[in-house]
Assembly symmetry: C2
Homo-oligomer: 221 residues x 2
DNA sequence: AATGGGTCTTGACAACTGTCCAGAAGAAGG
DNA sequence: CCTTCTTCTGGACAGTTGTCAAGACCCATT
């Protein structure tokens, strides 16, 4: 998958627009290999966390050697930044099916809860990496622009779910988008923490919490 | 302030119970200097974040030299762990005055919102450090025990506020303690992120959000 | 004054980090 | 074949890290 940033922070790199589509060596185009490197990096980052992940470790878990990284990325910051944007593309559409396929308010709530549990089960390393990067942005200004942009994207993603829920229920959401997102994110982050720490009940509790909480976000009938 | 862990994870160090109360050198007792070292460390950690803070940096910002750290702490992990516990002691009583002094439900909500804004204004580095450590615990098992214990402590701290609020309002809280904490924590974390990133409206919005949201946590009249 | 032990300083060590570079490897075009 | 360009390798560099140890310092007791 080649990332195609539609909006948001500047995505230009050191290479001009005339990037060669075909490579001389290796498989796939220049951008393909860049993305595969970012893909490997994300796996390693999700495993070790931002702080402990070195460029050599990233390279070791990829098809490249450590020297190549500086061929595709100017420095570590550019690699991380690119990875963050790459990550975003993999998660913005996560709940679109829930929105599209639900025909009742209760069905949407169940589908949403199921999806939250599923994504923690399948993609916990990616989620903890996101929280890691978001927290790091409080110390490292270089990450802020991207983090805030992705956070806003996630907020609208959640808001689309709630708007559909409100429409199906015939009652408006009684909280602003920012508050609703912050609350649900807090619930999700807590469940992720418990789950990663080995709490077997974390996912069931998340499911129950979402079922019990989402109705409270709508105005009274 | 000397930390006196009442409950929670094991706090024992390499030194036995017969710790000398008076030192031969430096000012204060052995435990005093240990705490002052932890105090310096927390300031540095809050400034740079867990990942970027080295033992030499901690020592440079303290009254000690870098070698002393291994005299008071076995290794970096023990220092961090001690700091985390030390941190907890400084924040568990944060809202006790609000609980004690409030005489009306609305007054408690205002006092709580004021206090949240105040603590972000005054102690933002400490808060972002907490979120940093909590996130790191998802990657580093050594931190988990302490993090989960502190998180539980914060939950009961928030719960005490809500119980008092419910009593003053004459309506019960309609969410379990865990959910209520997760939601408010999400709102708080978001406000902190915005604030640290330079968003001047973050604190006003936090205040307004708390005023608007807390009533929703109680059952209908 | 001498001793002994708690406290602290200083320098060293190996391991690791991001970055850079000289050159090899390989494909495309002449 | 030879040249040219992209791609990649492997090593080197300087800086930083946690950890340790030899010894200096200082105070209390004898």
């Amino acid at each position: 998958m080649t990332i195609t940033p539609a909006a948001g922070p500047d995505t230009s790199t050191l290479r001009g627009a005339s990037t060669p589509a075909r490579s001389r060596r290796g498989t796939g185009s220049y951008d393909d290999r860049r993305d595969r490197l970012a893909d490997s990096a994300l796996v390693t980052l999700g495993e070790l966390g931002y702080a402990r992940t070195s460029l050599r470790e990233i390279a070791a878990n990829s098809e490249f050697t450590h020297g190549v990284i500086h061929y595709y990325f100017r420095d570590k910051t550019e690699l991380i930044t690119y990875c963050v944007r790459y990550y975003k593309a993999t998660c913005v559409t996560r709940y679109d099916d829930v929105i599209k396929d639900s025909t009742t308010a209760d069905g949407l709530v169940r589908g949403f809860a199921d999806k939250l549990v599923e994504t923690i089960t399948d993609e916990a390393p990616m989620h903890r990496l996101w929280y890691d990067l978001r927290t790091q942005s409080m110390f490292d200004a270089a990450l802020r622009e991207d983090v805030l942009y992705i956070d806003a994207t996630l907020e609208t993603m959640v808001w689309r779910v709630l708007e559909r829920y409100a429409a199906l229920a015939g009652r408006p959401v009684r909280l602003p988008s920012s508050t609703a997102y912050a609350m649900l994110d807090g619930v999700f982050e807590r469940a992720l923490l418990r789950h990663v720490c080995g709490d077997a009940r974390a996912l069931d509790q998340l499911h129950a919490t979402v079922l019990g909480t989402l109705p409270l976000l709508l105005a009274d009938a």
